[in-house]
Amino acid sequence: MSATVADPSIQANDKIPSPERRIPGEEGLWVFLLGDMAIFALFFGAIVVLHGQHPAMVIASQHALHPLLGLLNTGFLLTGSLFVVLATRAIRNGSSGAAGLYGGAIACGIGFAAVKAVEYASLIRDGHTAQSNDFFMYYFVFTGIHLGHLLIGLVLLTFLLTRARKAKPLTPGQRVFVDCGACYWHMVDLLWLALFPLLYLVR
């Protein structure tokens, strides 16, 4: 992962990226982020099509879900994103609070994963698995892929936390990595903000 830190062009001539730069992180990162979001758009489309084809089955299945836990998780991710925004600002300014803020974001992420595990366990205990019907198949697969993204995000945040603990100022390459990590985390948040209403709320 640390390989992504190295930007040879920037490291070569120790210049700080100019402030008028419009794209956060680096251009290449957005190939991944937009591509990833396009795949999730296919997922969202699949859910909408299922709603249209089998409304009764979808609504009956939605009653088995736990919207309050979904809402709690939305809260975790929004709070986590706020922590990441503050941490990004703090680590750029070299202030000592950055590590704690990254720690807060990581705690939110772990909270999300824990709630998801409780949800999965409770659904499976009630006899709802990916094999039950198409709705639960989508539910488990799409939220599972989202959870996989979140776990990758936690690894990135842990890297940033260890970096934030060092007193040394950021190199320009590390500065880009800080932005990339933040962008990735916000994408995980954004995807959930679409996935949550589509799965739990839209009737």
């Binding site: 390989a3 992504t4 190295a6 040879p8 490291q11 070569a12 957005w30 991944f32 198409d134 892929i145």
Partner: protein, 241 residues
């Protein structure tokens, strides 16, 4: 000389896409035969399209051969970007070799399945499953290949990198696109079945365009790499590539 070899290896990857999809079209399998069909329907398809499926087996087999120079070129690029201690190069090379098997093996099974279509329908269906399940599901070699190449591109510290950094991120995205197909064994209908939106259409589109995009980038890189001096591992001094 080196530049021509690089261009030839890269072109093999582009040619592979045409041979692969040409084979699938020869068998009439765009979209693929649905996994939900029963044994009689599958056997009837094999009986009426035997020669098309045999042609697909031959074409896809040679397609697998075409990925050998392509994978070798990719691995050599990884070694060049990574330096003398090169675990990523080994990952990429092993994954490339496994990728050849992943394409080659289903072709052999399709050839065997279409060889005697008059056998018991259940046997033809079993052979058909044995070919299609690994053909679409077999993601890990391609995922390991794309991720190791992507990491090498982003970690390239040379003054004049042969590849743009977006190509590294693009490889990560491609690896992600191969993930949904990994769960196709659980489904006979829907987007995750082997003829579905996320297992077949997404993976096939991304897989096909990946070889074309990488092939073009390798051809572009050939000029940069040829003029670049690289350290000779035997002498530890700079020699022209």
């Amino acid at each position: 000389m080196s530049r021509m070899i690089q261009i030839a290896c890269a072109s093999c990857g582009i040619l592979f896409v045409f041979v692969l999809f040409g084979g699938i079209i020869a068998a009439g399998w765009i979209p693929p035969i649905p996994p939900s069909e029963n044994a009689t329907e599958v056997a009837r398809y094999y009986a009426t399209h035997a020669n098309g499926i045999r042609t697909m087996a031959v074409l896809v087999m040679f397609g697998a051969g075409l990925t050998i120079p392509f994978a070798a070129l990719m691995a050599t690029h990884v070694r060049r970007m990574e330096g003398p201690f090169a675990p990523l190069f080994a990952v990429n090379l092993i994954a490339g070799g496994a990728g050849v098997v992943a394409i080659f093996m289903p072709a052999m099974l399709l050839g065997a399945a279409a060889y005697r279509p008059e056998r018991m329908p259940e046997l033809t269906q079993a052979l058909n499953d044995l070919a299609w399940v690994p053909f679409i599901m077999n993601g890990p070699p391609a995922i390991a290949q794309a991720v190791s190449f992507g990491v090498a591109v982003l970690g390239d510290k040379s003054d004049r990198p042969a590849f743009p950094r977006w190509l590294g991120f693009y490889n990560f995205w491609v690896a992600f696109c191969f993930l949904p197909a990994c769960i196709l064994v659980y489904f006979k209908t829907g987007p995750f079945a082997w003829n579905g939106l996320l297992s077949f259409w997404l993976a096939a589109t991304v897989f096909g365009t990946y070889f074309v995009i990488m092939g073009v980038m390798f051809i572009k890189a050939a000029r940069v790499v040829e003029s670049d001096p690289v350290p000779d591992p035997r002498h530890g001094e700079l020699v022209a590539a």
